[in-house]
């Protein structure tokens, strides 16, 4: 089989692929392993090992234990106070005006202040702020925004955006940075994105680079670069779409997701969406598979099959039955990323949450 050569180099060599390999070999990795001088030659002994190995008297041990007990008690009491933090906070700087962390206002020249876990950052109509999170990324906070730091550290970094707009530039591992909104949870999958929430709790997420997952109670949306997804309280994420879709396509989608009051209206909007969908809109049509009634799923299948033929291993019956593996296989055909990555990080994230 000719494809075997592309797969693993076996079988009859494909002359075209051989030519490409030969030409492209000049770009191949040639570098030798650097000296990783920053790695410590020996692991630092853990705290308890240092204690055990040191020579100290019983009296010193008793005194130390007493100090530790008092310190632990104090920390416990302190951490139970509202609005304080038991872990290092994130650095926040004013970009304009005087944002507030809790009730403390800070200006541009005040330097960085800390946003602790459980604390709230508020910007008014004249102020903006920037949050820096070591090894995670940065979050630019626009005016008229209110957010809270829910969790930080240990791979679980979580903000709650009550209202306003943030621009997140995240270089942490996928799944390690999430933002709760009143109507959905945004899960970073290695990306930069803008998230807006209005006073009603409705949100809009726009991915600039990479991927974002948007989810609520099992309803999920994959939002690749260039795509947008709205969300509404009590409904969750709508259907993502590319922002270059036609105005009528977007209007029909908005009505389908949030505006249609009767099944008939929803069906009418669905017909418009399918009729106007371009190949690039396979992103939207794929999501619709799980969002339409069973009676309408066949028409969505047919449209998606026209835009992007289903790969082997995907059957009509399987898709109509919302077989997750088949849905993921078909998603992979769209050329927008690999669903297994999302599944991996989603699992990890869900386990960590519980």
């Amino acid at each position: 089989m000719k494809d075997d050569y592309l797969w693993d180099g076996s079988g009859e060599p494909d002359p075209e692929i051989q030519k490409l390999e030969t030409r492209l070999a000049k770009f191949r990795h040639q570098g030798e392993a650097p000296e990783f001088s920053r790695i410590s030659a020996a692991r630092q002994p853990r705290f308890w090992q240092r204690l055990v190995s040191s020579h100290w008297s019983f009296r010193l041990a008793a005194a130390t234990a007493a100090v530790l007990f008092i310190a632990a008690f104090g920390i416990l009491r302190w951490s139970q106070k509202p609005g304080t933090t038991s872990e290092p906070g994130w650095d926040v700087e004013s970009v304009a005006g005087t944002p507030k962390v809790e009730s403390s206002a800070f200006g541009k020249h005040a330097g960085a202040t800390k946003l602790g876990i459980g604390q709230t950052l508020v910007t008014d109509s004249h102020s903006k702020a920037n949050i820096s999170i070591a090894d995670i990324g940065t979050v630019n906070v626009e005016a008229n925004t209110r957010l809270r730091l829910v969790a930080g550290g240990n791979g679980h970094n979580r903000l709650a955006l009550d209202r306003g707009t943030i621009h997140a530039y995240i270089w942490a591992l996928p799944g390690e940075f999430t933002v709760d909104t009143p109507s959905a949870i945004a899960v970073d999958l290695g990306c930069s994105y803008t998230l807006e929430v209005d006073d009603s709790g409705a949100g809009l997420l726009r991915t600039k680079l990479g991927w974002v997952g948007f989810k609520l109670d099992g309803r999920e949306a994959f939002i690749p670069a260039g795509a947008v997804c709205a969300t509404r309280p009590k409904v969750g994420p709508g259907t993502p779409y590319f922002d270059d879709a036609s105005a009528s396509f977007r209007a029909a989608l908005s009505k389908f997701d949030f505006g249609a009051s009767t099944p008939e209206e929803r069906s009418a909007e669905l017909r418009k969406i399918l009729a106007e969908s371009r190949q690039r809109d396979a992103l939207t049509v794929w999501h619709l598979l799980a969002r339409v009634d069973e009676s309408e799923r066949g028409s969505v299948y047919d449209r998606l099959a026209t835009l992007v033929p289903p790969p082997s291993g995907v059957s009509r019956d399987g898709i109509l039955g919302l077989d997750q593996k088949m849905l993921d296989l078909w998603w992979n055909q769209l050329g927008l990323g690999d669903a297994s990555l999302w599944r991996t990080w989603e699992r990890s994230w869900s386990q960590a949450k519980s």
Binding site: T22, R28, A33, R43, L329, N332, Q333, S340
Partner: protein, 241 residues
């Protein structure tokens, strides 16, 4: 860990090591089963966490090509080598944060992709590489030899493919990794890798053939146009050096 060459490929660098199970040929069917952990990754990660330089060097030897390929799919070739080292130096102090030591490959692949994103954030050219053939074409050497110009032009075409396809194709065609190895290293399913290779290659062939009949690039300089044209015509010509 046995060493050797993948039969039929013969394009691994001298001295590179290949895990024995990468020779398997029974994962060709499209499957969603995750690729197995490369043998010994866990022990290398655990040792590296404890400060073992050789163990981290071992991880570098195993994954440098993958990291290089992922970066090459996203950032200018001239910056890739520096970024490879940067990725490993960033990963090193964070090894303790890796919850599942068997998932080192997907973990460092994610760090790599994010580092590439960060590169564009820092250089204020966020959307530059994605589907931006003219920019990639800017890497064409103005007065280089014909094979070098062809290579740059072909790389430009690969990088104009959708992200998933271009990354997998670069790992296969540039870094010389096989499909099973790509699956094992990146944590993608063998089925996904196979699909990406097949469809990516199909699109690349189409692009190269289309370009060879005159459509496509709009280069600024005539030298670049000529260089690109040489690349476009590659598939029409004989297999000359």
């Amino acid at each position: 860990m046995p060493t050797g060459m993948i039969p039929g490929v013969g394009i691994f660098q001298a001295g590179s090591t290949v895990d024995s199970h990468l020779r398997i040929r029974d994962c060709r069917a499209v499957t969603t089963a995750p690729a197995p952990e490369p043998a010994g990754d866990s022990s290398l990660v655990l040792a590296a966490r404890e400060g073992d330089r050789a163990a981290f060097g071992g991880l570098y030897a195993r994954y440098a090509r993958m990291v290089h390929g992922i970066l090459l799919a996203r950032v200018p070739a001239s910056d890739v080598d520096d970024l490879v080292q940067d990725v490993f130096l960033r990963a090193l102090p964070r090894l303790r944060d890796l919850r599942d030591v068997a998932r080192f490959g997907p973990w460092i692949a994610a760090i790599t992709r994010n580092r590439a994103n960060d590169y564009y954030r820092q250089t204020r050219a966020v959307a530059a590489v994605t589907e931006s053939l003219p920019e990639v074409e800017a890497e064409l050497p103005a007065s280089d030899t014909a094979p070098d110009a062809e290579a740059a032009a072909i790389l430009a075409f690969v990088r104009s493919l959708p992200e998933t396809y271009r990354e997998t194709l670069i790992l296969r065609l540039v870094e010389g990794m096989t499909g099973p190895e790509i699956a094992v290293r990146t944590g993608l399913t063998p089925g996904s890798v196979r699909v990406n290779l097949h469809r990516g290659m199909q699109q690349l062939r189409e692009k190269l053939h289309q370009a060879s009949i005159g459509s496509g690039l709009e280069a600024d300089s005539s030298s670049r146009r000529n260089s690109a044209a040489q690349g476009k015509n590659l598939l029409r010509r004989g297999n000359q050096p």
